[in-house]
């Protein structure tokens, strides 16, 4: 079943077409990787889907329901969670409080909200850091915090913007495992990634963008062999 359908989505900033007629679909339970060089329009696409930026034209359907024009809070309420490229933790609050803000969406009782937040913090492997303020956490830990916070609203679809960006090499495998674990838990994922090895490893399908245009869409193998993608982004990619 299709969880997300994006049809002819366009957005221009002045003369620059950040997204131009982008269309794609996401199957429930799958991972869609979004790739493209800097300025390709990947984060703008996330902002358009989640209502942070209004599209000039096009449609976004979530389980066949058109969500175009809804505000970000209403879109998240429908079950679309997201993380941000530039991390946005609630810095002066503890990790537990950050996640509780999300878990309050489904749990009205404070004790239940706290316990649920703790389960999610345990899921992202940060249980020992639960009482640390967000500003005290490392970049990798803050990435996990954002994932935990987004998971706390119990999303059906999770949009993750560069989960492994800006973290050290040792942290990356743990984050990749976390994405796989998330998929196993039944959450559909759309993830922007620059690390091509990771995107090939975790994605069921890949959407490649360049200068606001969709240049390819397909399985990792198809993308790997797509001349346009190779020319504009992959270069001499070595699948091994």
């Amino acid at each position: 079943m299709k969880i997300l359908s994006v049809e002819n989505l366009s957005r221009a900033f002045g003369g620059i077409k950040a997204n131009n007629n982008i269309s794609f679909e996401v199957e429930e339970g799958s991972i869609l990787g979004v790739i493209g060089p800097n300025g390709a329009g990947k984060s703008t696409l996330f902002d358009l889907i989640t209502g942070y930026t209004k599209a000039d034209t096009g449609e976004v359907k979530f389980f066949e329901k058109n969500i175009y024009g809804l505000t970000p809070d209403r879109i998240s309420n429908l079950g679309i969670g997201r993380t941000f490229q530039k991390l946005k933790p609630f810095a002066d609050q503890t990790l537990l409080e950050n996640v509780m803000i999300g878990s309050f969406v489904k749990e009205k009782n404070i004790k239940k909200a706290r316990d649920k937040a703790l389960e999610i913090i345990d899921f992202v492997d940060l249980i020992e850091k639960r009482h640390h303020f967000a500003k005290e956490l490392s970049t990798g830990q803050r990435k996990r915090l954002e994932m935990a916070r987004a998971m706390a609203i119990e999303p059906k679809l999770l949009l993750m913007d560069e989960v492994t960006g800006g973290v050290d090499q040792k942290t990356i495998p743990g984050l990749v495992e976390l994405i796989k674990k998330l998929k196993k838990s039944g959450v559909t994922i759309v993830t922007i990634e620059h690390n091509i090895n990771i995107i090939m490893e975790i994605s069921d399908n890949i959407l490649a963008l360049d200068q606001g245009e969709r240049i390819a869409y397909g399985s990792p193998k198809e993308i790997q062999n797509n001349k346009l993608v190779v020319d504009s982004y992959l270069g001499t990619f070595d699948a091994a």
Binding site: D73, R74, P89, F90, V105, I110, D122
Partner: protein, 337 residues
């Protein structure tokens, strides 16, 4: 489930250290006993002013400290509260105990009407807009004949002490207890608020509105809710102050100084912390009152110079306010490393 998770879930929700609870209970008992321990009229007045300003600062703390919107016109809600009780008593003889609630409701309505357009603004723009709103209330009331225009309202004095009319002429002690009870109720309610779903969501709006939106939080609505709660906390202090001095006019109860002093108290004590306004009021109000005693009149503006000096020191060395000297695990949350 693993052991670490089970241990975490077994922790109490909040710091329930019996020593802290006993300390707070002891202070409350002491506050109730204080007038009977030989406090003279001046000290009763000083305590009343501390209670009043602590509540006013707490009101400002809800909008600025919890939801991150800097309002510079909060004195307007103090004035609305003051005029509500005085006007309905003067015109219709309605007991201030009833019209206090009129003040709360009027302030809430005013906050909605002001908040809906103003809270679309953010940061400095919102602050400047509220400053002008505060001033415009003063100007409107100066020209509004129904409420006495510039000369204000003189509350008819009862022949003796009257709980019904909330007037006490022989001793300040009843006023002390009235202000104390309002102070305790307000601080208790705000303490509850800070630990509620609403409190969590307001802090999310304060810390990062964009991230808050991604967690199903309607940022605009929550800002308005905070503004309304804040206004409704401020109004009763205006009402009680009007009953305390029995004469109000626009220059006194809509003065911009009211908006500034609540800001100073909160920043000094600790913005965003439930106990910050109390600490700030307990320090700044005695400075203000003593400078008036020793320097006469308005304190020769020495109190303002001292405020400025203290504020500069706080901003440079303790941006989280004096409350930051108290370890967080004592007042706010249990922190385990």
């Amino acid at each position: 489930m693993n052991d670490k998770l089970l241990t975490a879930q077994a922790e109490p929700l909040w710091n329930t250290d019996k020593k802290i609870i006993s300390l707070i209970a002891g202070i409350v008992l002491l506050l109730f006993a204080l007038p009977h321990l030989g406090l003279n009229s001046f000290y009763l007045h000083l305590m009343i002013m501390i209670f009043m300003h602590a509540v006013m600062a707490q009101s400002w703390n809800v909008i600025a400290g919890f939801s991150g919107q800097i309002s510079l016109g909060h004195g307007a809600f103090f004035g609305i509260g003051a005029y509500a009780t005085s006007f309905f008593y003067v015109q219709y003889g309605i007991s201030p105990w009833i019209s206090i609630f009129f003040g709360i409701i009027f302030s809430g309505i005013a906050a909605v009407l002001i908040g809906i357009p103003m809270l679309r603004l953010s940061g400095h723009y919102f602050a400047i807009a509220t400053l002008l709103i505060g001033i415009s209330f003063q100007v409107v009331f100066q020209r509004w004949d129904l409420v006495g225009a510039a000369s204000g309202l003189w509350v008819p004095m009862t022949s003796g002490d009257s709980w019904l009319a909330l007037q006490f002429h022989t001793s300040k002690m009843p006023y002390y207890y009235v202000f104390l009870v309002f102070f305790l109720i307000t601080f208790y309610l705000v303490w509850i608020l800070s630990r509620s779903k609403l409190g969590f969501r307001l802090r999310a709006v304060r810390d990062d509105p964009q991230a808050a939106l991604s967690l199903c939080i309607n940022v605009s609505n929550y800002k308005i809710i905070a503004y309304v709660i804040s206004a409704m906390i401020m109004a009763p202090m205006g009402s009680l102050f009007a009953q305390y001095i029995l004469i109000i006019d626009p220059d006194r109860v809509f003065n911009i100084e009211i908006s500034i002093i609540v800001l100073l108290i909160t920043v000094l004590g600790g913005i965003g912390n439930v106990w910050g306004p109390l600490l700030g009021a307990a320090i700044l109000i005695p400075i203000s009152e003593y400078s008036r005693i020793y320097l006469g009149g308005t304190g020769g503006a020495v109190d303002l110079i001292l405020y400025g000096l203290i504020l500069m020191l706080i901003c440079v060395f303790r941006p989280d306010g004096l409350i930051s000297f108290v370890p967080k695990n004592i007042l706010e949350r249990k922190k385990q490393r």
